[in-house]
Symmetry: none
DNA sequence: CATGAATGAGGATTCATTCAT
DNA sequence: CATGAATGAATCCTCATTCAT
C-alpha cells in the first residue's frame, strides 16, 4: 500500500516487480504522448501485460501516474548522492552533484518533463507528496552549497535558497528546453558552461553587505578587490 | 486565417473579437483545469457563448489551445519592451526587462504553466510556431544582454545564449514553482534576489578556478579589472 | 430535476418527452432482460436514440431505472381511481379497484416484475421513494375498504391493513406468477375468482369479537355448525 | 452432476460438502447485494475458499445461483412437512403448515427475495426446474387444503388452486414486504392475523352476493343459511 | 450569425474465467 | 485438490463535433 496506492495482490515482491514493470512502461508512454493522451491499453501494451493486470496493482490510472512521477523524483534523490560519493572537496562535490543531476535528467528527459506537465493532474494530497520529494532533492543540494559556505568557498551571505533553485532550474531546463539544447551541445558541455555562469559569483567573491530593505534596484559595482 | 486557424465567419473584426473572447476564457479554463480536463462546454460557458459558436471561429479544440498559448507568449513579447521603454542605461534596462518579464508571468502564472504543460498537446507544426515565439522573446533579452556587453558592462566573452536561458528559466520558475515562491516572497523581492545571483558574474568578476578539463574554448582570465 | 434526477437540457417539455421515450424503452428492456443484463446501448437502441442522449437526460443508468420504476408505480396510482370513477356502491367500487389494479398490472407484467426485482438495485434514498409510492397506492385501496366498513358491508373489526396487503399481493401475484396464471386464465377470470376468495369473509360475515391478545391459535369453531 | 451442474472433482462427498459451503456463502452474498452485484470473489471470500475452487465445483457463476435458489426452495419443502409432523387435525395441520412456511421464510428473508429477484437470471431450462420446485411446495399445501375439504371443514367447491396461491403469496409477502411488516409485527402475529383473513371464507361461510355475471361454474348457495 | 440538442467513437474500469504452480 | 495471478471481453460514461433551427 505504498504511498496510499493499494494492490489487489498480496505477494509484496511481486507487487514491487509488476509495479516497476508498469511504471517503466507508463513513464515511456506518458513521456511520449502525455498522460491524458495515453490510454491504459497503451501502457499495458508497452509493459507487455494485460489491461486487467494494471488494475490489480494500481487503483486507477492516476495511481500509475503518481507512482511514475514519484519514481522519477526518487531516481534524482538516489543518483545525486551516488554521483558525489567519495568527493571531499566541497566545490568539486557540488559540481559533481550538478553534473549528476543533469545526467539523470538527460537519461530521463521525457520523465522529467512528465513530472512537470502532469503533476497538476494529480489530486492535491499527491501533489504535496511530489513537492515533498522535490524538497528533499533540493535539501541535498542545499547541503552541498552550505558545505561550500562553511569551507569559505562561497560567501556566507549567499542567498542559498534561491541559489539552489537556480541550480535546480538549470538542471530541469536541460529537459524542459531539450528541443533547444540537445541539438546544440552535450549534457557535459551544458553542465560545464552552466556551472561557469552559476558558480563564478559565489566563488569567493565578497558581496557587499546590503541593508535588508535594499533588495531591488541599484546595485553598485562590486567586489573582489584584488 | 491567422496562423493557420480558420474561421467560418467572414467579418474579420468580428473574428478578432470573438476569438479574443474565447481565448481569454480558454486561458482561464485551461489554466485552472488543464487542457484535457477542460471541455469545450467549459470554455463556452466561461466565455458566455454557445459551444456552436466556438466552432465557427476555431477549427477544433486544439486550435483554441494553440491560439491561447500564442496569446500568452505574445503578451511577453509585448510587455517586455513596454517595461523597458525610456531606460537607456543598458544594465538598468536589462534589470527592467527581467522585472517586466517576471511581472507579466506573475500576472499570468496559470497561463505560463499552461504553455509549459500543453505545448506538447499541439501537433508538431504548431509546437514549432510556439518555439519560434519563445525564441523571439529570448532574442529580445539577448539584445539587452548584448547591449550590456557592447557597453562594456558585461565581459565580451559572456556565454550569452546560456545566460539568456538562465534569465528565462528564472522568470519561468516564478510560475513553475509558484507554489514554493509565492507564499515566501513578492515578485519584486524575487526579482531583486534573483538578479543579485544572476548578474554578479557577468558583472566582470575574475574567475578564480576552472575545472581541470576546461570545457569549450579556452577562456582567459578576465576582465574588467578596476 | 424531478425526484433528484437532473437533466443537462433546459427545455422542460423536451426533457419530459425524452425521458418518457427513454423510460418506456427502459421498462421494455429491463423488463425483458433485467436491469444488470441490459446495457445502456440496448435501451438507446430500443428508444431509437443515441447513448449520449440518454446521459443528457439522466445522470446515470440507475437514474433510468429509478424513473422507470416510479413510472410504473405512478401508473397504478393513476389508473386505479380512473377505474373506479362513477361507481358509488362501496363494494362495487372496491371490486372495480381490484379489477383496475390487476388490469394495469396485466398490461405491464414485465414492468411490475421489474419493480419487484430491481428496487433493491437503487440506493436507499430512492428505495424509500418507491416505498412511499407504493404506500400511496395502498392508501387508495385502504380508503375503499374503509368505505365498505363505513357502509356496514364489511365488519368494522376487519384487519384493514393486512386486508389491503392481501389485495395488493393478489394483484401483484398476477405479474409475479404470470408464468403460472396466464396460460390458465384471463385477468378477468383471475380477478373474479380471487375476489370470491378474498371478499367473502368481510362481506357482512360477523366476526366474533376476539380479545386483542387472542391473535394466533385457538380459534373457536365458528360458522360451520355441525 | 446434480441437476446438470457438473464438478471437476471426483469425490462425491467432497463435492457435496464444498458445494454446500459455497452455496451458503452465495445465498448470504447474493441475498445481501444481489446476484449481479456480487462477484465470484465475494462469494469465495465469504466461503473462505479461493476463486479457483469454486470453478472446480461449479461450471460457472450461474450454476452457483441456480443451486443457491434450489437450496432455498428445497428448504421450504423440507421444513413445511417437518412443521406439521404429528398434527392430525386437518385445519390445525394447515395452520401449522402456513406457520412453518412463514417461519422458514422469516429465517431466510434475503434468500426468499433472492429467489424472486434472480430466477429470471437463469436460463430457461433452469427457470423451469425452479418452477417445478415451487410447484412441489404448492402441492404440499394443496394436499393439506384438500384434506380439509375431505374432512368437511372446507367447502368442496373451494377454489383450491387459487386458495393455495393466496397462501403462498401471503407467506412470500412476509419476505417481499419485510421492510413494511417486520417493523410492525412478529411473524407469529403476522401468521395469526393472516390466517384470520385467509381462512374465514373457506370455513364454510355463506356467500351473500355474487357478481352479476358469475364467473366459472355455478356455485350454489351453501352452508350456513341464516 | 448564434444556438444547443444530438451523436457515437473512444476510454477507464470491472470481473468471470482460466491455468500454471 | 487448491490457489490466486493473469487475462481481455464487455460495459458505463464522456465529450468533441455537427447541424437543424
Amino acid at each position: 500500500m505504498k504511498l496510499g496506492v493499494k494492490a489487489r495482490v498480496e505477494d509484496a515482491a511481486l507487487v514491487e516487480r509488476r509495479r516497476r514493470q508498469v511504471v517503466n512502461a507508463a513513464i515511456a508512454t506518458f513521456g511520449k504522448r502525455g498522460y491524458h493522451a495515453s490510454t491504459v491499453r497503451d501502457i499495458a501494451k508497452q509493459a507487455g501485460v494485460s489491461v486487467g493486470l494494471i488494475y490489480r496493482y494500481f487503483g486507477d490510472k492516476e495511481d500509475v501516474l503518481f507512482l511514475a512521477i514519484v519514481d522519477v523524483l526518487d531516481s534524482y534523490r538516489r543518483r545525486i548522492p551516488a554521483g558525489t560519493a567519495g568527493i571531499t572537496d566541497p566545490l568539486e562535490r557540488l559540481r559533481a552533484a550538478v553534473h549528476a543531476y543533469c545526467s539523470v535528467i538527460d537519461a530521463n528527459v521525457d520523465a522529467t518533463v512528465l513530472a512537470y506537465r502532469e503533476t497538476k493532474s494529480l489530486r492535491k494530497a499527491r501533489r504535496n507528496v511530489i513537492k515533498q520529494k522535490e524538497a528533499e532533492t533540493n535539501a541535498l543540494l542545499a547541503r552541498y552549497v552550505e558545505d561550500c559556505i562553511a569551507a569559505g568557498i562561497f560567501d556566507k551571505r549567499l542567498d542559498v535558497a534561491l541559489f539552489v533553485y537556480q541550480i535546480v532550474m538549470f538542471a530541469h531546463a536541460w529537459a524542459l528546453k531539450a528541443w533547444h539544447f540537445r541539438p546544440r551541445m552535450s549534457v557535459d558541455e551544458y553542465v560545464a558552461r552552466g556551472l561557469e555562469l552559476i558558480l563564478n559569483p559565489p566563488l569567493g567573491v565578497s558581496r557587499l553587505r546590503r541593508p535588508a530593505s535594499a533588495w531591488r534596484r541599484t546595485r553598485g559595482r562590486r567586489g573582489r578587490s584584488p
